[in-house]
């Protein structure tokens, strides 16, 4: 049996499902990296974002309150990273690792405290999830229906990437952010507030990473459980490096990753009667990544990324 139109539609929507959290968290990673602060704590912030959103949504009954709480919690963890790395000049990688260790622990602790000792939150009602866009517009089970009937997060994440691109490459603030990430001292001599810019970027990075985690319990599943984020934060960082720290390329890298994962699942469907080993199918994402890497060339991180900036010149 060959791929039908509806199978291709499903493949596209499945690709988007996978890519959405990666794109949102990836934009967070770009903001932080571009301003010169390495942020490997994306994974931890996604976990705490997923938990706080699921908990607030199920307790309040509204996905919007859930997202709002996730934004606050993400900002708090972003602030923690900013405080350690910018004000106290701690090693950025260590601070990121600390957040990756702290956040899942905190999520489970508060989950147990709020939900009778359970490590899962109660499921959010169907009506309490994010709205489905373009549902019922096209005939059911048609190619267009499968392709375009998605949770609103899918479309918002693409818009978000556009906004981040506009912010970084078409506004004065964006120019300053990039200057601070490339050469903070030069930027400072021209009167740019390096600390202020970096604080803004790192806090925004925390917010976006938390939102990347938060959309999962409001779309893919309907509750938080400890394994809900398993490596997506690191894949988002990889996608950013793969996409050469550019929003557009990063979106493509996330889509490529989602497509490969989905393709492996689709090809495993017994109706296609491909007697391919599951191990070979699960290699698809990595083989394609290696192939693409051959062609895209070297990825350059912002020059000051990871370096501690001391305004006193030490």
């Amino acid at each position: 049996m060959m791929f039908g139109a509806s199978d291709i539609g499903l493949l596209i929507s499945s690709t988007l499902t996978y890519a959405t959290p990666l794109i949102i968290a990836g934009m967070g990673s770009i903001m932080s990296e571009t301003s010169g602060v390495v942020n490997i704590g994306i994974e931890g912030k996604m976990v705490i974002g997923a938990f706080s959103c699921a908990a607030a949504s199920t307790l309040s009954g509204s996905p919007w309150i859930g997202l709002f709480i996730a934004i606050l919690v993400g900002a708090l963890f972003g602030l923690l990273h900013a405080l350690a790395c910018i004000t106290f000049k701690a090693d950025q990688t260590i601070s990121g690792i600390a957040i990756n260790l702290l956040a899942p622990g905190a999520a489970i602790y508060f989950c147990k405290a709020l939900f009778d000792g359970s490590t899962q939150t109660r499921p959010v009602e169907l009506t309490g999830k994010l709205p489905l866009v373009l549902g019922g517009v096209f005939p059911e089970n048609s190619f267009l229906d499968f392709t375009f009937k998605n949770y609103v997060s899918v479309y918002v994440c693409l818009l978000l990437a556009l906004c981040i691109w506009f912010l970084l490459f078409r506004t004065r603030t964006g120019l300053r952010v990039r200057a601070v990430g490339e050469h903070p001292r030069a930027a400072a001599t021209l009167g740019v507030g390096v600390f202020r810019i970096r604080y803004f970027c790192v806090v925004l990075s925390g917010v976006l990473a938390a939102l990347g985690g938060a959309v999962i319990p409001l779309s893919t599943v309907s509750y938080f459980f400890p394994a809900i984020i398993s490596g997506q934060g690191f894949i988002a960082i990889a996608a950013v490096i793969f996409g050469k720290y550019k929003p557009g390329n990063t979106v493509l890298a996330c889509l490529l990753f989602g497509f490969c994962k989905s393709l492996a699942l689709s090809l495993g469907n017994p109706k296609f009667e491909l007697s391919v080993s599951v191990h070979l199918l699960s290699m698809i994402p990595y083989v394609i990544t290696l192939l693409v890497l051959l062609f895209i060339g070297k990825s350059h991180a912002p020059a000051a990324s990871g370096k501690i900036y001391d305004s006193a010149g030490h």
Binding site: A90, F225, L265
Partner: protein, 370 residues
């Protein structure tokens, strides 16, 4: 620069503290008394029969994991209520906590030490070697006799093909489209047992039902479970059985969104989607702990073997929460269950046995064991 040093010292201290906490094993709960009425009865009995102390070392999930650790602790709580014995647990924070937690129970003079999950296999085998007079039992592990020369570590395993067979039978009887699905986790002979039992159950119920099944290659990817389920439902499948850990949660979510049926695994998963989880293939870890602990108390327990828990001794089963299965089908399932218990119906446990019974029906990829 001063700040940096202070921060470095603080972080080092923090890391050291967390590693100590991990060694200690964290939360511990112990109590020698039962609750409510059960305890007075139990105490009266306890004067006749001697009581024992039983300890449980959990895997990293902890006793509220909505999975095996929780089920195990429920079994021990029931054991305490019925016998007045002393039971307690220690939660392992990570793999490095297994051995120290076992050690803690040995130091407390615990009569029987339980572990949950195959991850603890090596730690228990080693503890058995080092402590020849101590009795241990571990859920989900089948030891080879040569691994346990002191005959003091018991492996407890479950006939998951039997519970999968029953939920498969329900699916075969209830499918309106004549198509059902199965989503599995990472291919292994243990996981294949679920698939084989399910296929056999569906085909026994109705040989004309078509089954779609595949491995998702993950136990922790709900998006994968959801994507596969969406594809199956689009292909006309109306019931999907997932045996894939958290990956299956995504399949249940797809059923909830589309108003289709899902079948849960291990525990009663009806609470996730009360209107859409038809039944669940249950592994009664609680019954196994209760049973082995009771044998230990009565002095009829001989350690060192592998105990098989199946339909006959209530070690596996199926859930009826939500009353979604019509009475006539339920009666048939009960009859099939009794046939299996009586030995009149042999449930295949391997792909080869299934192939012999239903030639050409099983199309899941073969398992390559190393």
């Amino acid at each position: 620069m001063k700040f940096k040093k202070i921060l470095a010292v603080l972080m080092t201290a923090g890391l050291l503290l967390t590693s100590f906490a991990a060694c200690g094993g964290g939360a511990s709960n112990s109590s020698g008394e039962g609750e409510g009425e059960a305890s007075t009865e139990a105490e009266a009995e306890a004067e006749v029969a001697e009581t024992i102390s039983v300890g449980l070392v959990t895997d990293v999930g902890g006793v509220n994991d909505q999975s095996f650790n929780q089920s195990a602790w429920e079994g021990l709580q029931r054991f305490r209520a019925d016998t007045g014995s002393k039971v307690s647990y220690i939660e392992s924070k990570d793999e490095s906590g297994y051995a120290p937690n076992i050690e803690t129970f040995i130091d407390q003079g615990t009569n029987l030490i339980w572990g949950v999950g195959f991850m603890l296999g090596d730690a228990f085998a080693q503890a058995g070697l080092d402590n020849p007079d101590q009795q241990f039992a571990l859920v989900d592990y089948a030891y080879a006799p040569e691994d346990i020369p002191n005959k003091n570590v018991t492996g407890v395993v479950f006939a998951t093909e039997e519970c999968s067979f029953l939920v498969g039978y329900v699916a075969g009887k209830m499918s309106e489209t004549g198509k059902v699905g199965h989503i599995n986790g990472i291919a292994s002979s243990t996981m294949e047992t679920f698939a084989v039992g399910y296929y056999a159950g569906v085909l026994t119920a109705n040989p004309d039902v078509q089954i779609m099944g595949q491995y998702s290659n993950s136990f922790s990817d709900p998006a994968a479970g959801k994507n596969i389920a969406n594809q199956y439902y689009a292909d006309g499948v109306d019931i999907i059985f997932s045996a894939a850990g958290a990956t299956g949660n995504g399949a249940i979510e797809a059923a909830k969104e589309q108003g289709k049926w899902a079948i849960g695994v291990d525990m009663d998963q009806n609470y996730i989607a009360p209107d859409n989880v038809l039944t669940s293939a249950l592994k009664r870890v609680d019954n196994a702990l209760y049973d082995v602990s009771t044998k230990m108390l009565n002095g009829t327990f001989e350690g060192g073997g592998t105990e098989m828990y199946n339909l006959k001794n209530d070690g596996v089963g199926y859930a009826t929460t939500g009353d979604h299965i019509p009475a006539d089908i339920l009666a048939e399932v009960e009859a099939v269950k009794n046939d299996i218990i009586a030995g009149n119906l042999k449930v295949p446990a391997t792909a080869a046995e299934l192939e012999a019974q239903f030639p050409g029906k099983y199309d899941m990829p073969p398992v390559e064991e190393q």
